[in-house]
Symmetry: C4
Subunit: 204 residues, 4 copies
Amino acid sequence: MSENPELAALVAACHWIGQKGWCPATGGNMSVRLDEDRCLISESGKDKGSLHQDDFLRVNIADNHVPSGRTPSAETGLHTLLYRRFASVGAVLHTHSVNATVLSRVEKSDALVLEGYEMQKSLQGQHTHLDRVAIPIFANDQDIPALAARVAAYADTQALRYGFLVRGHGLYCWGDDVAQARRHLEGLEFLFQCELQRRLLEAK
Amino acid sequence: MSENPELAALVAACHWIGQKGWCPATGGNMSVRLDEDRCLISESGKDKGSLHQDDFLRVNIADNHVPSGRTPSAETGLHTLLYRRFASVGAVLHTHSVNATVLSRVEKSDALVLEGYEMQKSLQGQHTHLDRVAIPIFANDQDIPALAARVAAYADTQALRYGFLVRGHGLYCWGDDVAQARRHLEGLEFLFQCELQRRLLEAK
Amino acid sequence: MSENPELAALVAACHWIGQKGWCPATGGNMSVRLDEDRCLISESGKDKGSLHQDDFLRVNIADNHVPSGRTPSAETGLHTLLYRRFASVGAVLHTHSVNATVLSRVEKSDALVLEGYEMQKSLQGQHTHLDRVAIPIFANDQDIPALAARVAAYADTQALRYGFLVRGHGLYCWGDDVAQARRHLEGLEFLFQCELQRRLLEAK
Amino acid sequence: MSENPELAALVAACHWIGQKGWCPATGGNMSVRLDEDRCLISESGKDKGSLHQDDFLRVNIADNHVPSGRTPSAETGLHTLLYRRFASVGAVLHTHSVNATVLSRVEKSDALVLEGYEMQKSLQGQHTHLDRVAIPIFANDQDIPALAARVAAYADTQALRYGFLVRGHGLYCWGDDVAQARRHLEGLEFLFQCELQRRLLEAK
């Protein structure tokens, strides 16, 4: 596994995420696509800031099966949904930041709308601060297949790009490769912090 | 003492707590159970971020006696209360974070109620964000035996799990071992920060 | 290029800016004057916290031409405007902090006015907290020549010192050399954070 | 000078203060008493986070005279006032944190009153959270002798302990030695952050 540069990039991203404090208390999970049929996903219950390459398990994208028999993250089904749906997705990061958790609760509608920020351009395909970027918010659910079905139903009718929030839980975001997923995460977290501060100041 | 892996884990946790800024100005105190009758607790007045193994003193759980005659933390009696009451408690962390201090004052009732957060699952035995986790808040008291008696009286009638707050003072939390106590601390501090930000935004 | 002490100082400033989190997601751009006619500016799309000296491109101040043919920052025209207008400008830093982004949106007038802060004296030529320092705010624009023309028009009629904000976008600041530009950045970011907190507390 | 352990402790405290971000943009100044008649104070215009022992100048406590002819901090007169007034003062730290700056402006009365916080006990001689600790706030003044005269007049009639704030400017605090001054600084900054958050939450 050590020759996989994307896995090495993912491990480095995990360490950076740990330093940012975006995955406290062994929360979160991270994955990278191996090929059309398989991805690697972080093992359950590990501290994300000190993951190694062998803390990632091979999972079948079609059915979440883990050939090795080890226990992958409980939320594996949300990662594989993204790999199944979008052939371009190469890496998925699921984090638990304070800002994502709080904004996803305070915003009572079903999307967090970002507009007027230059940083929106950190998201692939966004070219101006004048556009609206809507990050969907799904109700949290301990039943991951049910949550995945709701995300899939959303994607049937609307564009699902960059990421989505799970209310009171955290952010899922992704990219064509680890570098892009990481830039999307960094851009979205910046935008969340701005939006939280803006709402405090404008007493919305 | 150097062969005790739990003490080594506690020293590492103290350094991490120091980096987080959760024990400024030599505040806080930390302990680990040795056996049914004795625990090790941090010496009074030391900077928690740079503790060594020999900064911990052996204390009798039954009567707070320190055979070596050195001065343990002034709040030793709250640690030993937890070890006496709960045979499963293996480590106790007492920290002074800004968020714990402020929330414990701003919340005027006798408990901080956490609900709707996925991170509640970082607490042993919590399996859904739908449950209510109530962290009791006790009035601060310079008379530690009196404060310990109030905590004991509470535990006589209600479940006391994970931790409690002392108003304007800080958090006590614990676990079966250092790793679990540390995960509880990290989870609770995350939840406190979320709750503080949520209240600011929702102007509760 | 390695003998240029100002470029070395700029690279060090970029690393410091990266650590501060003021240029997330490859945003921002930085430059230093070489002489009357040319400056060095950071290449497009690089992470500012890990720039090297060879990530800077030579640009003609008169016409933004890049002899090497590599792609400079999209906002090169704002840097060269400052070098053309002000012979004393030796370095320009363009950053994307949360505080600059949020304050520039929340303040609806065309300037952020700072007064009553001792830290105003970190800005060259400011000698008392009693003076008013007005940092202009320009509307954001994806058309950089148009934005540069508006900044130039402003400078035709009013003093333009230390820096300006672009709404929802970030800060441009500068100095006679890298050290002064960096001090201006640090002073302004401190003032922005104070002003943001002050407004929250005074519910302006 | 290298054998002075208090100067070594002060240099270490300066590096720690720099990491905390409490002296941005070369602000602040620090000193330690040598004996009844002389102290060492940081040279003007240096970054406090990277000070060395030879960045400190010998100053006569009686008249602010610097035998070496180098330029000490502009605010030397406030340090020497404290050494003249209080024989027990061994070290003085003057910092510029965001919290001290903002609270000293938002609090319109002539003192910031701290009560109900366990952390008050980090201040020498404080034994309970039930006491009131009043940190005086003086109006800022570019005329340091005038400001020093107002501080001296205050000390003629009221107890002046631990520290004072200068409005919109920062904190002066001190202790019997560097370790105590540092503990006072850490305790006060913690209390300022708590008080700022508490006021935001209680919308005072």
